[in-house]
């Protein structure tokens, strides 16, 4: 019974995704269907057009198994041995160093603001909105 519920809800979420893709194509915007669909679902929930219970089980399942959906593309690395060739060590260095840089910049900025912002949150956020 639980599986049937998940399947129906995932099908519903897929419809929202397809609608998002159509809108993104039609308007010719660089924002992909998934993100447009996310905004649509958020608005549907926020405006109480659909109930959380209608999608909750399906959405929680998709999010819990998220890594599964990355795997087929990751296996695709086998097809790029030629294009990447001898440069894979350099590529790996760039990706690792850049990831560390991005995490440090993001994490330290966020932590600095949240520590400093205690008590003065409203002032700083209003100014920058």
């Amino acid at each position: 019974m639980k599986i049937i519920k998940i399947v129906i809800q995932v099908a519903f979420l897929t419809l929202i995704y397809l609608a998002g893709s159509m809108i993104s194509n039609y308007l010719d915007i660089p924002i992909p269907g998934g993100i447009v669909g996310l905004v649509i679902l958020f608005l549907l929930l926020q405006l109480k057009i659909i109930k959380v219970e209608w999608i909750e089980k399906g959405a929680d399942w998709l999010l819990a198994e998220l890594m599964l959906f990355f795997i087929p593309a990751a296996v695709g690395i086998v097809n790029y041995q030629k294009a990447i060739g001898s440069k894979w060590v350099s590529l790996l260095i760039v990706i690792v160093l850049s990831s560390l840089t991005v995490m440090a910049v993001t994490g330290l900025t966020a932590q600095y603001i949240s520590k400093r912002g205690r008590g003065a949150v409203n002032g700083s956020s209003d100014k920058n909105r």
């Binding site: 958020f42 690395i77 350099s90 994490g107």
Partner: protein
């Protein structure tokens, strides 16, 4: 026969994923994370059975397709935690803008330093964000979308693997900051990791992933062309 290949490729992907996920939660060794070990096992299986990637992907692409509805599903944690997100709005926008700029600029300069050439460099630039957006941006700025997709995956695996250690070394204690840095640098894979740390971390990683995609679209069409025309010859 063709249909059978498709079904088998989906079943095996699911099976390998489930087994690695269970062993990961049982022994808690970082290299057992499904994102790293499952593709390796599957590649070995493909080579051992002389199966081409194309025939494997003809079936398993349906699993990739579910990334779309999964992206839509991120609306749910955002809806549940809306109050919290509003409260931290400035922290989110500021740190993700800084992070997105750091992603573009640092990929560009590290690639320049290691002399990777224009096409690989451009393909590396959008790699911190979720696959479909990254591929779109790559196409528009003159990269190779399929290569970008590969880099996005490697970035995701890297972030999920080194993220927790890097968080400790940088002494990041705030849950919000932990979530933001994982979602910013490693998109869905980082978000999945963040949910392992906690509900709050996961929620902030989800919002980071979404905001990062939007801000990177803007930056890729503003600051990147300047870098490109000045330095990439």
């Amino acid at each position: 026969m063709v249909l059978l290949t498709k079904i088998v490729s989906i079943l095996f992907t699911y099976l390998v994923y489930k087994i690695s996920k269970q062993s990961y939660s049982r022994w808690n060794l970082f290299f057992l994370t499904p994102l790293l070990i499952s593709p390796i096992v599957l590649i070995i299986l493909l080579i051992a059975t002389h199966t081409s990637y194309d025939s494997y992907y003809s079936g398993s692409k349906w699993l990739s397709f579910l990334l779309g509805p999964a992206t839509v599903s991120f609306a749910l944690p955002m809806y549940r935690q809306l109050k919290l997100l509003k409260k931290h709005l400035f922290e989110i926008i500021a740190s993700i803008t800084a992070g997105s700029a750091a992603a573009i600029i640092s990929s560009f300069f590290y690639a320049l330093w290691l002399q990777l050439g224009p096409s690989l460099t451009t393909s590396l630039v959008p790699r911190s964000i979720t696959t479909p957006v990254a591929m779109d941006i790559s196409k528009t700025i003159g990269g190779v979308p399929t290569l970008t997709a590969v880099f996005v995956i490697i970035t995701g695996i890297t972030g999920a693997l080194v993220g927790p250690l890097w968080i400790r070394m940088l002494k990041i204690e705030k849950s919000t900051a932990k979530g933001l840095m994982l979602g910013m640098s490693a998109h869905g894979a980082g978000t999945s990791k963040a949910f392992e740390l906690g509900e709050l971390e996961g929620t902030f990683a989800s919002i980071a992933m979404i905001v990062a995609a939007l801000i990177t679209i803007i930056l890729a069409f503003t600051i990147f062309p300047v870098l490109q025309s000045e330095l990439l010859i």
